[in-house]
Symmetry: C2
Subunit: 359 residues, 2 copies
């Protein structure tokens, strides 16, 4: 049997802390018995909860921490008070110290990203981190990034995200060359998307072995599952994700309200509830819970702060997969021959120069 | 009775041209008998269709044009071949010549915006146009802009859009001070949203009589109807709109598929179909059809290219309202005392300077 996957947990993170994190870890452990957990947090609370969970207790090491990063702490606050001493920092630090293969936290995104950047640092050649999520589509799921790590992106950042997102998609979907699309808007000849166009040119001409560049996709193509990986900068990515989540919730709420207003409709709902359950299942945010931080020297997974044990287990699952199937070395391999922005254009110029040489 | 609202139509625009535009115009005319239409396009086709529509014919003047801007023409191509001679240009030109109060086209967005900018020019003090749409929400509808006129926005552009969007919302929702939110992402202290923050500071301190500034909203707040007007730059606005539209379609398609796989579920659907109809009605893209171009010296409405007569009629309706309730003079009034970016900060500095004067 291969060596265990060692996962460090920020047990105090999220809206519910240990009450969700530990049951979630237990669920993930039943699916992946080869996980070894490092549990960072209030040891009294953790040990009390572990009493009724002998199997989780057997797979876990508890490390006491006093400081908790709160959900509304700003990144700078979190760093000031939580550096070296908080459960969040220590969970990340375990990855840096090679004591864990991956850290999972339901704590606040800004603080987690700030600590991860400060502690793990960026991978060589990558300037900015990205957060990748799994987006439910008509065809299954797609990887979408960046959904909020940073705002704006140069063409090279977009290309780097394509390479990193494809590395993740290879693991999640088990396909050799995932299709990658660049998110764009449909209006032609509009000024200001030079970065997106330059990234497209680089990706198209590079023919990178780790991904199949598809072209531009628009906002409505994401949910259709047109490509395996959708790349955009973090502002538009975050807004697209939340607008889509909001719409799904809005549709569900509206339908529930409309059904509840009529007795006959309620009967109808009961008869059709298999279909409704399938829909709820399909759109269950818990199943696609787990934002993967990309570009760092280590695997860090962000769980939704308000999720339940099932949702937290999904975040642990995705961390497990990223470690077991070697996300970092796949990204490194992809970055070795990453497409260079501008190289294509330069090559074109030299060809045309050659042609113009008087013969 | 007040004077008629004169609406010029690009009859050749859209996927279906006259076959949708004229029936759509007729529907709008039954709702607003005081419309006078100028119909630009192939007069033979138009007159043939008007034969069976005596009421529309009586309210219309037909002006023959030879050139059609196609749905896939780039803006520059459209201007080259269509300037002065196409149905699209002529419909806009009627507004410039004060022969019409408003132009409506289902033609391609980029070409329509390019022609509108070139021909009507920007309103004094406004640097960039915006496209505003009506977004169905849990509470009704909200005005969202910019959904794709231009990419990126300075703080002052965002403020100008707030003023213009509020002017439109006052008409559509008949409220004196619509609430306005700036679209942002939730992560604190992230670099790159200085424009959004500066616009927020200006809007907050200005206390503009035409709008009530709410604060930041996130992508999922749009569909909840948290504010009457949502302001963002065109790239993220377009992507948010399409992601939401895509999700609504995805949910509907999935539910339809799930219901069709089971006989009992089909029976259930029949019983609950009132609720489904209410949902379809709520999300009917035809009802919120009609993007309003803001910032130009004239009212131009963009209809979806693929819509049907009912959808085109909605676009005419919104143009009618914008004229009848004086969108342009409302925007002008709002711009007269528009919040100035930086002024708030400057005021703060002088106060603190005063305090530091040795006494």
């Amino acid at each position: 049997m291969s060596s265990p996957v060692r996962i460090s947990l920020d047990v105090m993170g999220g809206d519910h802390g240990p009450d969700v994190v530990l049951p979630g870890a237990e669920i993930a452990l039943t699916r992946h018995p080869d996980i070894a957990f490092l549990l960072y947090g209030d040891s009294a609370r953790i040990n009390a909860l572990l009493k009724d969970r002998p199997r989780l207790a057997a797979a876990s090491t508890v490390i006491h921490t006093d400081v908790v990063v709160r959900m509304d702490d700003k990144p700078s606050q979190a760093l000031r008070k939580g550096r070296r001493v908080s459960s969040m920092w220590r969970a990340i630090d375990a990855v840096r110290m090679k004591e864990a293969d991956c850290a999972v936290s339901a704590g606040n995104t800004g603080a987690l990203m700030a600590m991860a950047k400060v502690n793990l640092r960026m991978m060589s050649g990558i300037n900015r981190p990205a957060i990748a999520c799994l987006w439910p589509t008509m065809r299954g799921e797609s990887v979408v990034l960046d959904v909020g790590a940073s705002i704006g992106a140069t063409a090279q950042h977009l290309v780097d995200m394509a390479v990193m997102g494809a590395a993740m998609a290879r693991i999640v979907f088990d396909i050799e060359r995932p299709t990658v699309g660049l998110l764009n808007i449909g209006v032609e000849e509009i000024k200001g998307v030079e970065e997106v166009k330059d990234a497209a040119a680089a990706l198209r001409s590079a023919d990178h072995p780790g991904l199949a560049y598809y072209g531009f996709v628009e906002g409505d193509d994401i949910g259709q599952g047109v490509v395996d990986v959708v790349v955009t900068e973090g502002f538009s990515g975050n807004i697209a994700l939340k607008a889509a989540e909001g719409t799904a919730k809005q549709v569900a709420d509206f339908l529930r309200g409309a059904i509840n207003r009529s007795f006959v409709a309620k009967i109808g709902y009961l008869l059709a509830r298999g279909a409704f359950r399938a829909l709820r299942d399909k759109l269950d945010p818990r199943k696609s819970n787990g934002g993967v931080f990309l570009g760092l020297n280590g695997v860090v997974i962000k769980s939704h702060g308000g999720t339940d044990a099932e949702g937290f287990a999904s975040a642990v699952d995705i961390g497990y997969d990223m470690v077991r199937y070697q996300l970092l070395s796949r990204i490194e391999a992809g970055m070795n021959d990453r497409p260079q922005v501008g190289r294509a254009a330069v090559a074109d110029v030299s060809v045309s120069d050659e042609l113009q040489v008087p013969s």
